[in-house]
């Protein structure tokens, strides 16, 4: 089973009929399951979440981009969020960690198709990046559509990975990428010592020389306890168990215990399988042994 999640962001958060049409275009592909559509009027942006196998998911992403390009004119778009495309960002995320190469392939093929068929220049980012300078989405997008329109033909650093060096006159450009699942994970300490939580966050986060693929800050909670609030950007590199161990050890040294941890939003089954493999020494455990995965396999 090569199940892939796609979570494109479109530059429309105010016209429900446009958002609905994009969602319908995505859902029109057999074998694709539309999970969620969220829009934000202030950002003037919507996020569509869907899953499917590599063939259907690429087709659904294409139809979403095509529909957005037909209905959104960036020259008339304003909103709080930076953007450079009608379909602005199209990330593919593998549900099982071993399928990242498939996501990269899907991103590459889609970028070429969008450039050729829709004449929208495409940038490949994160794990799908062909050049290291394009890995970071914020760098690719820069100051957005209006700035890219000027720079794309003249600044070599702004050349697209697929397509001609000119923005589509109304749909702009698109960033297509492959990235790993992010897990939003918080550990709450049985303490009101904010300084302790902040110190532990500094010690464990990658930015300050801590654990790789960990972003962390220390926070005070409303109930008086303190929290180490994290994003784990690759649980294969640093897992939830790893950070619980690191935080628990540092807290214990200060005489504090972990009260509880919490996972915010969704996590892939694979993260639980990895955890079980580690906790149980179950080296051969695979995602295919999970009954729900077997059921999904018969359905998708």
């Amino acid at each position: 089973m090569t199940l892939i999640e796609c979570i494109p962001n479109f530059s429309e958060g105010r016209r429900p009929e446009v958002i609905d049409e994009i969602g319908a275009a995505v859902a029109s592909v057999d074998g694709v399951q539309l999970l969620d559509v969220q829009s934000d009027a202030t950002h003037n942006r919507c996020v569509v979440t869907f899953v499917g196998h590599e063939g259907p998911i690429a087709e659904a992403a294409f139809r979403g981009i095509q529909t957005a390009a037909a209905l959104i004119d960036l020259n008339e778009h304003e909103g709080a969020h930076p953007r450079f495309g009608a379909a602005d960002v199209v990330p593919f995320v593998p549900l099982h960690s071993e399928h990242m190469p498939v996501c990269v392939d899907v991103a590459h093929v889609l970028a070429r198709r969008v450039a050729v068929e829709l004449e929208i220049p495409a940038f490949l980012y994160e794990d799908a990046a062909r050049v290291p300078e394009h890995r970071n989405l914020a760098v690719i997008r820069g100051k957005g559509f209006e700035a890219l329109r000027e720079a794309i033909a003249t600044d070599p650093a702004r050349r697209p990975d697929e397509g001609q060096p000119r923005v589509h006159p109304t749909a702009g450009a698109v960033a297509i990428g492959a990235r790993f699942t992010l897990i939003a994970f918080n550990v709450n300490l049985d303490s009101d010592d904010l300084e302790l939580a902040q110190r532990i966050a500094r010690e464990i986060r990658e930015r300050d020389g801590g654990m790789p693929r960990v972003k962390a800050i220390g926070l005070a909670l409303d109930d008086g306890a303190v929290q180490v609030s994290m994003n784990l950007t690759d649980y294969r590199v640093t897992s939830m168990a790893d950070v619980v161990g690191a935080i628990g050890g540092r807290a214990a040294a200060a005489g504090v215990v972990i009260r509880e941890s919490e996972i915010v939003g969704l996590l892939p089954q694979d993260a639980l399988v990895q955890l079980a493999k580690s906790a149980l020494h179950a080296t051969s455990l695979s995602n295919a042994q999970v009954l729900e995965a077997r059921v999904l396999d018969t359905l998708l």
Copy 2:
């Protein structure tokens, strides 16, 4: 999501056309996914595995029982496995531990329907049992169809829970139950000391006063190592992590470490969620936070 697995056993393992027809009857229900059909000619028996929500799963089980009753005559059936019904055993298993009461309800309603519409007496077993003496399937089934045909009207202990005290002339009786998922779990020790594995198995298994819902034996593996081979009949009561801890501690006391553990066959996602809750202190983690479960929810 109230996803339920049903794994009925039918008394037919030799006529493929009959087995196919039973499978087709089950699969004919919208919302039911047929996962597997396995037959055994020696046992003259087949096992059908399917999943669905409470309404569809009950309808599919009914159609399977109805089809088996129409095509199988126990008076002409012989095989190595004990049996008392054309549809012999129909267990419902909750994919999420909190849905056992739903499985019990489904079993009760189905038993009544089978008794009334098909005139097959039904026994309710394990968690669906109405009387403690019926919990154990082996006790209910006794010496099978021929013995029950004589005893059902005269022996109060053999009276069915639903229907008249007479077997169906060709389809016999049926045992309908609700039970928990069993996890087949082995822990291999980095040692050739079979006596150690056997001693640990005795110490941890319920039968000898060990951990509840644990069956265990000690075995020698082909590669020279030894194994504690287990069935965990309720991972909510005793989890994989619990037995790994118990085995690891006892092995360590003898100077032996765990080489690896292995899960045989399938396990429910819920077992992984429970493990994560325990390992991470993630008290609020729910099955609904797993991306795959969310996808399944949109499909079933």
